[in-house]
């Protein structure tokens, strides 16, 4: 009797999907993840999870996991030993760098993996090759937030915690479909609404989030600046600005005032009647505490940084920043998109946003990392999608950690053609992806359930990730891969054994993180950075006394409206917007391996207005062809009145899908491609 009594272990950890950072318990039996159970002790989500979080254990033991290094020999990938792979990578990168210099290499860091991996990879790249060609995929989601908020407030991060919306009087969600993309942040909005706090959603689409709102303002896609300027025009015109705040805490007001004078009536641009703009402007200005929550609807445009700055302008003009219930909060997309930036996986900063261009900072990093004085470069490295453009010239060798550019970057055909031009490509991931096809070496990494580390959520809270099970086969914990590569190259300062070792290495050279210790992270409340000392409590709300700019003042910017790079015309008469569905995460490498998520949405679809569908003779559920100047895709029509006529909406998760169509035009300030707006044509597929 009772020969084998089952075990039941809960490992509290952090969800691997979006930037909310929900706590959950991985259930472990006999060394395998067998389920997720609520972690009700987490102050972030109190045990509540979205469809993705609740099933996140399912992909961990997928038979499709990469389990050994693979090296391409001829046309075929062959299993290889780690020794072989390490030697080849070290040799190729060393050769390329010796011959062509630090600008011949590109390093692309994932926002899906732990801080420790991000720090380790950028440290290896910088120490070994003296390059700044390091970037992460924040570039194509919240790069404009980092750029825009830094310009306005001196810090590129969200200003207030998610739960703080409960202290607001007015919640503005602008270009954010939080219900699907950040469900447990949306839950805070639901709670707030139940408390009687007013919710306004601005979105061209009647999204599930718009359905939550007391007021939904539909505007024409990508006309944010005109709308915000018009609001500010009326706020100033009616004397509703917070004069004291503007005077004491900001500069540049006159520039703003002058610019917005031209924006009294913008209905022809935005489609929003002036009365409605006025009414909302008054509401926002008169609220005691109002918060703006925004997301990729704001950022993924060629005006991304300016859109973000417009949000900053609005908040400062009305004094809605630096207090509970106020602020400007980008909902960070990926679980660790905040962290990847914080860790210095960025072309112009080290960890904690210490600028590479500042000689003193370089000197201090050289000291921390045991490098000769003057060895770190001062130049601005090449950004994520620009690295793709530079494939072949001058970038010859590239290392991609946990990213799938072939599906997730704009203009898939261009990405593929570019990757072909590389001499040497390493892809490190947990599954075989479309990008692996272009690699010379594929390395098997470890997933969130297989390592100790941290994710930093969109509210700057550093959440612990805990090892529940061993990584499969010969796959390795990613920061140890970089440690071994570095050691193989004879570098010092990489003798890490644990996640904590890497974290402490980072802390030692990062003033804003110095007080964020693993010990403090044991409790699920953890710490919000900045936290400069161990006895510092952390900083849930930024900019309370002064802004993080050098002079302590917030900056207004007068910003003119610019249309998107490509607008609908005779040949491509429809505007395509892209976004997400709740049931999938990015390119579905993980979510599509969860049974129920695959069941819910197994293939791509496009939302099309009822009237348009009627004109084209398209029925709900019918497969249609959508073309842009860059490519085409075949997808299922979902006929709906959630969109205005001539506007289409498509989720970005699917291979050969939305990103066959999207535009690579870049935001000049942040290099964000215009993923949210392009012109397309729609065709009914005639039966043969």
């Amino acid at each position: 009797m009772s020969a084998e009594i089952p075990t039941l272990t809960y490992v509290p950890t952090t969800c691997p999907y979006c930037g909310v950072g929900c706590g959950l318990n991985l259930v472990v039996q006999d060394g395998k993840c067998v389920g997720v159970e609520p972690y009700k002790r987490s102050p972030i989500n109190e045990g509540k999870l979205c469809p993705k979080g609740a099933t996140c254990w399912e992909f961990v033991h997928s038979p499709d996991r990469l389990t050994t290094p693979l090296i391409k020999k001829g046309d075929k990938f062959e299993k290889a030993s780690w020794d072989e792979a390490f030697d080849l990578i070290a040799k190729k990168f060393k050769e390329t760098s010796d011959k062509l210099g630090p600008k011949s290499l590109g390093f692309q860091v994932s926002c899906r993996t732990v801080n420790e991996d991000c720090y380790a990879m950028q440290k290896w790249a910088r120490v070994a090759f003296k390059t700044n060609n390091i970037d992460n995929c924040a570039r194509i989601c919240h790069g404009p937030s980092v750029a825009g908020l830094s310009l306005c407030f001196g810090s590129g991060a969200a200003t207030n915690p998610f739960e703080d919306v409960l202290n607001s009087d007015l919640i503005v969600l602008w270009g954010s479909n939080a219900v699907e993309a950040h469900p447990l942040a949306a839950r805070r909005v639901i709670q707030a609404k139940k408390k009687g706090i007013k919710v306004v959603v601005l979105d061209p689409r009647y999204s599930p989030t718009a359905r939550l709102a007391d007021k939904w303002i539909r505007f024409n896609p990508s006309t944010h600046i005109a709308l915000a300027n018009s609001m500010m025009y009326w706020i100033i015109r009616e004397g509703l600005e917070d004069k004291e705040f503007v005077k004491k805490r900001t500069k540049g007001f006159e520039d703003l005032k002058k610019t917005v004078e031209k924006y009294a009536d913008v209905e022809s641009i935005t489609g929003v009647p002036t009365e409605k703009v006025k009414e909302f402007a008054r509401e926002y200005a008169n609220a005691k505490s109002a918060v703006i929550i925004y997301c990729l609807g704001i950022t993924e445009l060629t005006t991304g940084t300016d859109n973000v700055r417009s949000m900053g302008n609005l908040s400062m003009l009305t004094g809605n920043i630096g207090r509970p219930g106020t602020g400007v909060n980008p909902l960070r997309g990926q679980n660790n998109v905040q962290g990847a930036c914080d860790m210095g996986a960025y072309p112009n900063v080290y960890s904690g946003y210490q600028k590479c261009e500042v000689a003193d900072i370089r000197a201090s990093m050289e000291k921390s990392w045991g490098m000769p004085a003057g060895s770190l470069p001062d130049w601005y490295g090449v950004t994520l999608t620009e690295q793709i453009n530079q494939c072949g010239d001058p970038i010859k060798a590239m290392y991609i950690l946990g990213l799938n550019p072939v599906v997730s970057y704009p203009d898939s055909n261009h990405v593929k053609a570019s990757l072909e031009k590389l001499d040497f490509l390493v892809v490190q991931d947990i599954f075989w992806t479309e990008t692996c096809e272009f690699a010379d070496v594929v390395l098997p990494g470890a997933c969130f359930a297989e390592k100790d580390g941290t994710f930093t959520s969109g509210e700057r809270r550093v959440n612990r990730v805990r090892k529940a099970v061993d990584a499969p086969g010969e796959s390795k914990i990613d920061y140890l891969v970089f440690a071994e590569l570095a050691q193989r190259m004879g570098l010092k300062g990489f003798d890490w054994k644990t996640g904590k070792d890497v974290w402490d290495d980072m802390r030692a050279c990062t003033p804003s993180m110095r007080g964020v210790t693993y010990e403090k992270m044991e409790k699920p409340e953890s710490v919000h950075w900045p936290c400069p000392a161990e006895d510092h409590p952390g900083t849930p709300i930024l900019h309370c006394e002064k802004f993080a700019c050098a002079d302590g003042l917030g900056n207004f910017f007068g910003i003119e409206y610019r249309p998107p790079a490509e607008v609908a015309d005779k040949d491509y008469p429809y505007t395509l917007m892209t976004g997400r569905v709740i049931f999938h995460y990015h390119t579905r490498t993980q979510t599509d391996r969860c049974e129920v998520l695959h069941y819910e949405v197994p293939e791509s679809y496009i939302q099309i207005n009822t009237q348009d569908a009627k004109e084209l003779g398209i029925k709900n559920g019918e497969k249609i062809k959508v073309r842009s100047r860059r490519g085409e895709t075949i997808t299922k029509a979902r006929v709906t009145d959630d969109l205005a006529p001539k506007v289409l909406y498509m989720a970005m998760h699917f291979d050969k899908g939305a990103n066959n169509l999207t535009n690579t035009a870049l935001d000049p300030l942040s290099k964000m491609p215009e993923l949210k707006h392009c012109a397309v044509a729609v065709e009914k597929i005639r039966e043969a």
Binding site: M1, P6, S42, A54, P183, L184, P208, E522, I582
Partner: protein, 416 residues
């Protein structure tokens, strides 16, 4: 020899258990005996996770590990029976002892009716439960209403209508009524709960009614089954448990406490159910609240009534997949399948990311059905209304259509 219906005071005589024991350590001693005598293979108990607000389940096979179990954790809101179904494969492989609250005990019966586990292979020691507080709410409540840093609290208890905390340098109690007025306090399902002494367990234990010299040093035990009697007698015979007849005044007090709690439960039911309105108003309220659903399926996953291998909510004929807002049929299916048997454990509401008062909706329907048909879920092995629906015809229909709908599994579970 004790028998069903007996009541007594019990405490341990085991020196090791005494060191850590609350209320005389009777429950720990009973479990020790259950393990040593092989009455069970394992105990499923609750242990502290990161702190006393964090309840984690733990499987104990070595009596020495019983010290790890937590005593009462009012901030733990786990539901044990579904864990046994989900992760231990029911009771097929393991005979299990479980300390249960009212909702756990009721859930065990409902899962047993559905043949998901076998009550003959389970020993339940019931403990009185006046309700539990969700951990994050508890911490906020302690910070805001008590003015105490929740991290310095080392003990909490609910006694004489008060939620009491002990912390470095003091203790403080505030009445649960006052806390609940302020939006804190027990989970809303707990407020409506009327299963305060779980007598459908094998033994029903607690501190209500322990007065006189044994106050705080013994546990009040009511013997509720022959299995319970045997366990108790065995532990006494083994010499790790001592008992005495309870003070008759104590029995009276216990009855009064229970009565007061039941009355309070009625008060909350009235308030909550009236708040839902009637007829179309109620339907509209339910439709409007459930329209926020994001299809996480956690209400189903955590529900102790749900057990089907193929859930009807995943039948695309009824609920179109991949769509938000979710078709209302999703919720109608849940109501149709669960309402007659809902035990108001509250899990569906506590885990809901869309803040839908799921437990309230289901419980309100259960109470209506109970009024109409007299079936009370969770008390005994009496089958729910659904099980009596034209079984033969239903079976024939299923066989002919190869359907995977719910009734197929009621009497004959499909192996996974």
């Amino acid at each position: 020899m004790t028998k069903k219906g007996d009541m007594l005071y019990a405490w341990t005589t085991d020196a090791e258990i005494q060191k850590k024991a609350e209320l005389g350590g009777a429950v720990t001693a009973l479990w020790k005996y259950a393990l040593e005598s092989k009455a069970v293979d394992a105990i499923l108990a609750v242990t502290k996770g990161v702190d006393l607000y964090d309840a984690k389940p733990v499987i104990i096979t070595d009596p020495k590990d019983l010290a790890k179990t937590a005593g009462s954790l009012h901030c733990g809101t786990l539901l044990m029976p579904k864990l046994i179904k989900k992760y231990l494969g029911g009771t097929k492989h393991t005979k299990i002892g479980v300390t249960v609250k009212g909702c756990d005990a009721m859930a065990f019966y409902e899962l047993a009716k559905r043949k998901q586990l076998d009550l003959d292979r389970i020993i339940m020691i019931g403990v009185n439960c006046g309700g539990s507080v969700s951990p994050v709410i508890a911490r906020k409540m302690i910070a805001e209403k008590y003015g105490v840093d929740p991290n310095v609290v080392h003990k909490e208890e609910i006694d004489k209508g008060q939620f009491i905390i002990e912390y470095e340098g003091g203790h403080k109690g505030i009445s649960v009524d006052e806390l609940e007025e302020a939006g804190f306090g027990r989970r809303s399902n707990c407020r409506r709960c009327k299963m305060k002494i779980p007598r459908q367990a094998d033994l029903a234990c607690g501190n209500w009614g322990v007065i006189g010299p044994k106050a705080g040093k013994a546990t009040f035990v009511e013997v509720c089954s022959e299995k319970g009697a045997a366990l108790l007698d065995g532990a006494v015979k083994k010499g790790i448990l001592a008992t005495e007849a309870p003070n008759p005044k104590g029995i009276e007090i216990r009855g009064k406490v229970e009565g007061a709690m039941l009355k309070l439960g009625d008060k909350w039911r009235k308030k909550d159910f009236e708040g839902l309105g009637d007829g179309k108003d109620r339907l509209n309220k339910i439709m409007s609240e459930t329209s926020r659903c994001i299809k996480c399926y956690q209400c189903i996953d955590q529900c102790p009534i749900c057990y089907c291998v193929d859930c009807t909510t995943k039948n695309p004929v009824y609920v179109p997949p991949g769509e938000l807002p979710v078709n209302f049929m999703f919720h109608l299916i849940r109501y149709a399948h669960i309402a007659d048997s809902c035990v108001n454990c509250g899990q569906c509401e506590e885990v809901c990311p869309a803040e839908i008062p799921n437990a309230l909706f289901m419980h309100a329907q259960q109470v209506e059905l109970e009024k109409m048909f007299g079936h009370v879920p969770g008390l005994d092995m009496e089958l729910p209304l659904h099980a009596f629906v034209e079984e033969k015809a239903e079976r024939a229909r299923l066989a002919n259509t190869h359907s995977d709908m719910i009734y197929e599994n009621v009497f004959n579970p499909v192996p996974k």
